[in-house]
Structure formats: C-alpha cells, structure tokens
C-alpha cells in the first residue's frame, strides 16, 4: 500500500481526524465536497421559506427571533462553504453548481410556507431532524467539517426551541391558531422524516461513508431516533402526528411508524416539488443583482492595492 493511503487508513481506524493537507482517496474527497456543499446550499436556500415571514411576523419579539434565525442560516452556510473550500474547491464554483441546478440542496426546502405556523413547524421538525443528523457529524472524520458542525450545533439549539415555543403558543391560543399549528405539523411531518434520506437498503453510498466515519449512524437509525423523540414532544404540544400507524412497540423499545411515500421524495428531489423553481430563481436573482456590488468592492481593493504599491 502506498504510504499516503496507509496513513489515511490508520488515521481513520484510530478515530483521529483527517486534515485538509493530508493525502486522502479521491472518492473520500469527492464524497465530502458533495455532502458539505449540499449541506451549505441547504442552509442558504433554507433562508427563503422562513425568511418570507420576517416582514409579516405578528409580534416584534417573534420578528427579532426570526431575523436572528435566518441570519444564522446564512452564517452556517458560510461556515460550511469554508469547510468545503479546504478540500480545494472554490465557493464561486459551488455556488455556480447550485445556481445551474447541478448541485442539490435538501428537498425539504421545496415545500411552501403558507402560514405563520410553518415557521414553528420548520423550527421544531425540520431543525429537529437536522440536529439529529448533525450531532453525529460533529465527530465526522474530516476535521474542518466536524469543527463547522460543532459551531453549527451549538448555535442551532435555539432554532428548534423557538419553533417549539411558537407552536405551543399557537396550540394554546385561539381555535384558529390551534388549527393553524395542527395543519402545519400535518404538512411537515412526513417531509421531515424524508430528510434522513432513503432507507438503508436503498442507500448505496451509506456503507462507504460509514466506513470512512463521515457518517456515524445509518439513515433508518437516525430516523427512528427522531420519531422516538417527537412523539412525546407532540403530546406536550397538544398536537397530533399525522400517522395512524404510530404505536409503541414494546419488543423493539421504539415507536413503529407508517410507510414513507418515497415516490414523493424522489419527485421533489428531481425538481418536481412545489417550490423548486421559485427557490432557485430567487437565489440566482440575488446573486446576479449583487454582481455589480462584488465587482465594485474588488475594483476598489485593486485601486487601493495599486496606491499602496506605488507609494
């Protein structure tokens, strides 16, 4: 075995971290670039569904919370693009792939947010599922990704709580508010279960990612963990989860849940979700409309550098 590969294998086996300048298999690098970029894109696109409620938030306290949360998502996108860049790709290149549709982002953000309760359901369920996914990533074998995830997980704990509190307030509010909360949970429950990815037997790349310790738990394992957590939380909210097959399985020590509609998952992934086009168009527009600003700042920096060099 070549020395680089041997060292890589030894580092992974010892549960130590791979760092940017280490030798790594091309497939390991490619897997990480794809995963980190998709994660970063999801943070950036994920600003939109909730961001659309900033201007309509019904109290100033909620408005402040929502601005701070959407801001965090931009920040998390930046941490993640930074982690991806340590693998030798350029952020502009990654953004380009997002804008041209060659890179995916989490399909959850292709669902619409027609009511205020969606802000709560996204915080509780979507961020909750994301956190369940992300906590093990803090121990991912690639150092920069793991470090970004530590920072992100620390910051995200408030995201889920604010969503839960928002839903609780609605659930205990007027009948219209309660109905709004229930409707949002009904719409977001299944898509958030899909966030854990295809079932293990249909997830071809999972095994390799686990061998490389990029992933620490299988999709189904994490999905089950999430369901188990949510059942009690839903009860405390006074809301129901839209699954008639949900029941405690004494033998397994877990909640059984109904079958997931994977056709829907794949359709949304293919770009047939209700908001795919809208999300990408908006993202592209922001980028294109910002071009003159980025150019201006670069031109100004060049002029200053010129002045400095001449002096």
């Amino acid at each position: 075995m070549e020395p680089g590969r041997e060292r890589f294998e030894r580092t992974i086996a010892a549960d130590e971290r791979i760092e940017p300048r280490d030798w790594m298999p091309d497939a390991y690098r490619a897997t990480l670039v794809r995963q980190i970029a998709q994660h970063a894109h999801s943070e950036i696109i994920g600003m939109q569904p909730e961001g659309s409620w900033i201007t309509r938030a019904p109290s100033l306290r909620r408005k402040a919370i929502l601005i701070a949360k959407v801001q965090d998502e931009a920040g998390h996108g930046l941490y993640l693009y930074g982690a991806a860049e340590t693998l030798g790709v350029d952020r502009d290149e990654l953004l380009d792939k997002l804008h041209s549709g060659r890179h995916k982002y989490s399909s959850i953000f292709n669902y619409p947010t027609p009511t205020w309760a969606d802000v709560g359901a996204i915080g509780w369920l979507v961020d909750g599922a994301a956190i369940t996914n992300q906590v093990p990533l803090c121990r991912c074998s690639y150092g920069p990704y793991a470090r970004a995830m530590v920072r992100i997980c620390k910051e995200e704990s408030f995201h889920q709580r604010q969503g839960y509190e928002l839903l609780l307030t609605l659930s205990r509010g007027t009948p219209e508010q309660h109905a709004m909360a229930q409707d949002a949970v009904d719409r977001w429950w299944w898509p958030s279960l899909m966030m854990f990815g295809p079932p293990d037997d249909a997830s071809p790349r999972s095994a390799r990612s686990m061998a490389w310790k990029i992933k620490r738990h299988s999709n189904d394992e994490l999905r089950q963990r999430f369901v188990d957590i949510c059942v009690d939380q839903a009860a405390a909210l006074g809301l129901t989860l839209p699954d008639p097959d949900l029941r405690w399985n004494e033998e397994r020590g877990h909640w059984d849940f109904g079958a997931i509609d994977w056709d829907e998952f794949h359709a949304v992934l293919r770009g047939e979700g209700p908001c795919n086009e809208e999300r990408l168009t908006r993202r592209r527009r922001a980028h294109d409309e910002g071009a003159w600003v980025r150019e201006a700042a670069a031109a100004y920096a060049d002029k200053r550098a010129g002045v400095g060099a001449a002096a």
Binding site: I54, T55, L60, V70, L78, A286, V293, A296, A299
Partner: protein
C-alpha cells in the same frame, strides 16, 4: 395626527420616543427585507445585524410609550411619526448604503447628545450608541467602495444620493421632547460628516431643496401604507390572539 394619544400623560419625551422608535422600527423592516437577497453571503449576516440592532432600539423606545406590539401593529400610517427617508423602498444596495450613511450618522450624533440628558431616553440612547457607531462604520466602508469602485457602482451611488437627499431635511425637524438638542448645530455637523464621506467616495454632494411635508407630522409616502399592509396583515387578522 393621532400619535399623542399613545403617549402616557402626554410627556414631551414620549413624543420623541415614539418618533425615534418609529424611525428604528421602519428602517429595521426595510433592512430585514434583504434577507435572502443580499449581494454576497457575508453581507446577509451584516445586514441582519443592522436590522436586529434597530429592532432592539425600536422595542425599547416604543415600550416607553406603550405596548410595543399595539404600537407597531395596530396604528394606521398617519399615526406613524418616523421620517419618510426610512420608509422608502430598499432599492438597490447603493440606496440601502447611502440611506444607512445618512441615518446612522444622524442617529450617532443625536444619541450622543441624548445619552447625557436626563429623560428616560438617555439610557436607551447610551446603549444604542456603540451599535450606531458600527452602523455608520459599515455604511462608510461601503459608500467608499461603491462610490469609488466601478463606473456602474459610482453611477448607482450618485443616483441614490440624489434620490434620497431631498428627504434628509426631515431628520432635523423639531420634535417635542428633543428641545434639549440644538438641531441647527446637529444638522451642520451631520452635513459635514456625510459630505466628507461622499467626497472621499468621489460622489458629488447633492444640492437641492427638501421636499415639502414631514413624516414627523404623520405625512407619508404611499410606500408606508404598502409596508404596513404587509407588516400588520397577520397581526390584524387575529385581533384576539397572542403570539
């Protein structure tokens, strides 16, 4: 103008708190509209910080006068007393930057003065000062880059300055409760500072007279009604609800 009906006992500083609170509230709203639309990702974070600082100031100021949410979500346009400059649509990034330069420079000078006073505004102004200084710094940084960047950015910055300038006069209109402030002197210092930045940015300082009317008297552009329609829509749809 129906603003004074919210002022407890009609204390003069309450009129000022409402006016300055409305300035911060509406400007924060316009800045928050950038979420997801900023020219570069780093600026998403920066613009949200500005919006959050101003929203915090607005909440503190409005709470001096009454219930912050009742004030924000149940008044009609004619009861708002912010300057019209802050309600204008966010426009392109040059409009946002030039407006921030004008408002932050003014706020910093005003808050410096109010922070040393004896009214209930003083602690709020003192707490807001470091935020405002940073807002000015952010605006100066960007005004220089846009004004002295490319031909396009220069043209946009110049157009923004010319479009916004006629609205800046309202910043120095007398407001009940701000009697301790020498508005004439404030205006001279403001003009010197803003002119200096524009000049360094190679942007000509606009001339021309102010527009008639004043937001301080509850006179507004149609943009405010549209802004409030959106901002108040959910709150108004559920009058008995808490959030």
């Amino acid at each position: 103008m129906s603003a004074p009906e919210h002022a407890p006992g009609g204390a003069p500083w309450a009129t000022a708190a409402l006016a300055l609170g409305d300035d911060a509230l509406i400007l924060s709203h316009r800045l928050a509209e950038w979420a997801g639309n900023a020219p570069v990702l780093e600026e998403e974070v920066a613009l949200a910080n500005l919006a959050l600082d101003l929203l915090g100031q607005a909440r503190a100021l409005l709470s001096l006068v009454g219930d912050e949410d009742a004030l924000a979500f149940t008044r009609g346009p004619e009861a708002f007393t912010h300057v019209r400059l802050v309600e204008l649509p966010r426009g392109d990034f040059a409009h946002t930057v030039v407006r921030q330069l004008c408002v932050a420079t003014w706020q910093e000078l005003l808050y410096e003065r109010l922070a040393t006073g004896a009214s209930p505004l003083a602690p709020i102004a003192a707490a807001a000062l470091p935020e405002t200084a940073y807002h000015r710094d952010h605006a100066v940084t960007w005004t220089l880059r846009l004004g002295d960047g490319t031909a396009e950015s220069h043209a946009r910055t110049r157009a923004a300055a010319e479009a916004l300038w006629p609205y800046t006069g309202e910043l120095f209109d007398p407001v009940e409760g701000l009697d301790e402030v020498d508005l004439g002197a404030l205006e001279r210092r403001w003009r010197a500072r803003v002119s200096d930045v524009l000049t360094r940015a190679t942007v000509p300082v606009p001339g021309g007279a102010r527009l008639p009317g004043s937001g301080r008297a509850g006179e507004h552009t149609p943009h405010l009604a549209a802004l409030l329609d959106e901002m108040q829509s959910l709150h108004r749809a559920h009058p008995a609800a808490s959030w």
